[in-house]
Symmetry: C2
Subunit: 671 residues, 2 copies
Amino acid sequence: MHNLFTIPLFLLLSVLLVTAQAAEPSSQQLTSPDGSIEVTVEVRDAGVYYSVQYKKQAVIQASRLGFDIQGQPQLAANLEVTDVQRNTTHQAWQQVWGERAEVVDHHNQLSISLQEREGLQRKLELVFRAFDDGIGFRYHLPQQPNLQEFAIEDELTEFALAQNYHAWWIPAYRDQRYEYQYLKSALSSIDVAHTPLTLTDDGIAIAIHEAALVDYASMTLRNVSDNHKTLKADLVPWADGTKVYAKTPLTTPWRTIQIASQAAELINSDLIVNLNEPNRLGDTSAYVKPGKYMGVWWEMHIGSKSWSPGADQGATTERVKEYIDFAAEHDIDGVLVEGWNKGWEGEWWQRKPTFIFDEPVVGFDIQAAVDYASSKGRQLVGHHETAAGIAHYEAQMERAFAYYQKLGIHSVKMGYVGTRLEGKEWHHGQFMVRHFAKVVATAAKYQVMVNAHETIKDTGLRRTYPNLMTRECVRGMEYNGGSPDTGNLPNHTVIIPFTRGLAGPTDFTPGIFNFDYQEHRPYNRVPTTLAKQLALYVTLYSPLQMAADLPENYQGHPAFQFIDDVPTDWQESRALQGEIGEFLVIARKDRHSEDWYLGATSNETPRQLSIKLDFLDAGRYQATIYRDGEQAHWRTNPEDYVIESKKVKAGQVLKLDLKPGGGAAVRLHRL
Amino acid sequence: MHNLFTIPLFLLLSVLLVTAQAAEPSSQQLTSPDGSIEVTVEVRDAGVYYSVQYKKQAVIQASRLGFDIQGQPQLAANLEVTDVQRNTTHQAWQQVWGERAEVVDHHNQLSISLQEREGLQRKLELVFRAFDDGIGFRYHLPQQPNLQEFAIEDELTEFALAQNYHAWWIPAYRDQRYEYQYLKSALSSIDVAHTPLTLTDDGIAIAIHEAALVDYASMTLRNVSDNHKTLKADLVPWADGTKVYAKTPLTTPWRTIQIASQAAELINSDLIVNLNEPNRLGDTSAYVKPGKYMGVWWEMHIGSKSWSPGADQGATTERVKEYIDFAAEHDIDGVLVEGWNKGWEGEWWQRKPTFIFDEPVVGFDIQAAVDYASSKGRQLVGHHETAAGIAHYEAQMERAFAYYQKLGIHSVKMGYVGTRLEGKEWHHGQFMVRHFAKVVATAAKYQVMVNAHETIKDTGLRRTYPNLMTRECVRGMEYNGGSPDTGNLPNHTVIIPFTRGLAGPTDFTPGIFNFDYQEHRPYNRVPTTLAKQLALYVTLYSPLQMAADLPENYQGHPAFQFIDDVPTDWQESRALQGEIGEFLVIARKDRHSEDWYLGATSNETPRQLSIKLDFLDAGRYQATIYRDGEQAHWRTNPEDYVIESKKVKAGQVLKLDLKPGGGAAVRLHRL
């Protein structure tokens, strides 16, 4: 009797407790370590909502979470909390390479396990992390009987922004992929934008993006009301309309919201890499080496040479040897050869790809080039242009990377030129995510570093795969070569570090010294001064930096010394001052010496900057300042520059005078 | 014999001449009176192209002209020049009302008559006018056998811009019609934009728009290559896809390109009205009277009253009498009553319209209100909200205007709220152009001035129909009342005079003095200081200006004196300084006194302006300056203002200190 009585009572109590929990909404709070950021997660009958405050001000108002699953009811409402877990992480980890050697990961985590009360009783876990520089959250769908293999029709995640912020964005779902100049508008004027999307207002800067995009679709942000400030996750679909093909257990990418009191601070955030998994490749020191490269490419963009074999062919053994000679005289590690392999004839971007990735074109002896480079202590940089033909590439990929390994080539630049992959898939859908994961893994297997153009956007996977060095995914220097619209505006390079750059390294390819290349490109120009070209090596971060111009264009330019000197791997980095679209000053400390480097860039507006050198360590420094000359102007006189040298120390103020479209680059050599 | 011989010879010579002309491309030049602007029109075998230079710099490169006609070959190529005419006009004309009393029209004109060499032998005439502030061109299709009644499938007009300018634009083909905050981007990032589209670069500002849009479709501008700087006319289609239903003789609207050395100068251009036909209404002095009005509307937008009949009804006889009392104590001519007529119950914008335009709602005695207004020397302002139901409105329109005339109401505000007209037509297609022409004509017949919201964009028809006073067609003050996205950003009002304002008068409805209206609108705010609200009466031109706030909110505010004083009809207007999105200073001289008024407005950025008073006439002026107080800030302290008085004269410099989101309004009273 005793047992028979007590057991049902215990069960009854459990049911009552669960019912009580379900009847009133559950609200969980999560606070960042310094308390500046607060997240609230509410589980109501109607759905699950999160909201975010920064310094007690609303940033994200109650915003919906959940999924539409194909052939099933929506997974969003009527959920009960089955478990709540909290923990705190405070650790420092070493980056193989990066903006800083040591990254601090200090966050509080809240995990909420949910289960549907009725019907399919599906399980869903939400994980939120609050850092002092923003938050991340992701969904986890554990293995479960009623959710095994499935298709995601829609992710319901919303970002109900509290203010109609100023927004800096590029449009999604357009043919040029990610390669647009940025629009500035009210948040409410966005239709659908790629991430990172950067938002500003007095005293606050916000960037919405994602981290660890692995086997899922890229998130774009759609204004869900034509007149509203709520953005909804709009996953880039497959050609068949499905957003994501999945099976449990599924962990989505982190949805990230970086928050700072001013835009330049966003650049100092490590949130994206902190939300990626640690290095899975182990010791990559044999082949993963940040560095500088140059190569055969700009002469094709400005029309003096061609990717096609024949009389105008850019990729010839002789020409490549000229590049190698120059590289060897300077601190340039690699020489890229675009158009070296078979398949570049004519309008290669207009047809089904015919590239052969392990056969050099007539006129280019790859073994001779490799040997010559090696004799000079340099390396060739390989090139895989796919023209968006994925099947054609994947069929050769293993062989192609093996070929490079055999030749001793440890670096490849890749391209996916085309409006759709395989003529139908967006560059930002799960199709590309899966393909590019294969590329990175295959490259690692054959000890090759990857620098990819026109690929999926960066979400910090470089932490997990340190051979994934850099990527374009930006309207880069090439648009100043042969684009039909004259090229990028002068403000472009003072927008992208605050937007695209938040995602990760950018292979923008700075370093154009010759502004007089209009013979075949009468309407194009590089919209900076020469001094600003140098500054870009500091303000646009990439572990592989190109010296993009032709060797002959660097001759006689003492300013090339800065490119010789500037490192590509950093002990520390600090964005010091800046306003989006206006100007930016960044200082970085070399990872392998005591020297600091500083880059300052402006848009069309000339400006005088006072930079407090309080980032310097104790001791004296020899400052070599590469600045705009008195008459410098991006349009009329870009090559007017001055090199000055003086001694400085911490705490002093460095004054820099930037001309229209100008900049300054400073080497601070520790004495 | 003699006669028989000479006649064929004469004919033969004519044919030879014409053939000779057709064989080589014809190029015609047109220059503006001061020579700064040059137009070249080339008739080549492949088509007809125009280009534009400003101060010897290319602005528009060779750009295509022509039409796609339904069921016929393209009318664009294989044309021969049959006649070329030139003339010069230099005249001054009086505006019934406007930014200035006298407008100078000084232009050179080039008319080129063309005919197809073969096939249908259709005729087409091109007319170009070059002014010192820009150009206009239009097509004329004369009556002809092979082109009688026809449908235009596409207008081929292109604007091949020479540079990738900075662009300020609103997107076309969106549900909120014309009511967006502006986007700033590179020209190349535009997809499809409404006009006026404003473009800037160092030393040049350009606005592309149209003039005299009569029985045609509105022109939007589409980037014809995703990566390009050539915009193509994209006529807003009917629901059936046709762009324009036409018959010959057809004269298209003028395609206009205003050009100046700086953006503020665009505001001083009279090009749009100069390209419209003279007054067709004759003497309208009996009822066309610029002036100020207030009325029952803002209390609905901020949610304290309702358009619906019942307990919260805004339109009551008693309330309207309060407005009339206030108006009578001040220099406010009219009192608007929104929601006065039957049909406003509930969510009127969601259903087929039920409005009755000549029956007042219970609780509002229109005759009593009219009589009371009359006894105080004021007028009621009528209101026609159509909810985009055109047939429903047109069935009552004649009766509705007659009703107003009978009551002595000479002013109506109209609305076309809805995403499509009749549930299917865009607000900017030929359907709306035709409807609105009927409205303006009917209003004139019954001696009523028109102030239209959500209607077709302005193209200067006010010159031809002086009862067409003003229109909204902008994201106006109402968005600061109840919009879901918090409202307009502070920079909005320093963008629209450089963009939307170039089209014509704007019923933005400034004058909010009470910033504490968040009881029902917790997320909305007016994004200016109070002093900036005053400045908007000068910087945003409209012949009918509203004092938009509630009478009780003006009580105790000496600043209302500026609204009392400020005229709405001007002898002269001059934009003195400004940068789009940053700040603007405009001075205007009263048409009926010797007084000048000045408005200065800023975006979020505080700034100090030095304004040379060289626009003043000889003599001394009493300056009354309504400026931001020391602690003024649009967000935290908008009502902090100072009124100062001092004597000034021409040539002196007036210094104004604008706070964040602030402004200054100055009355300069001639002593």
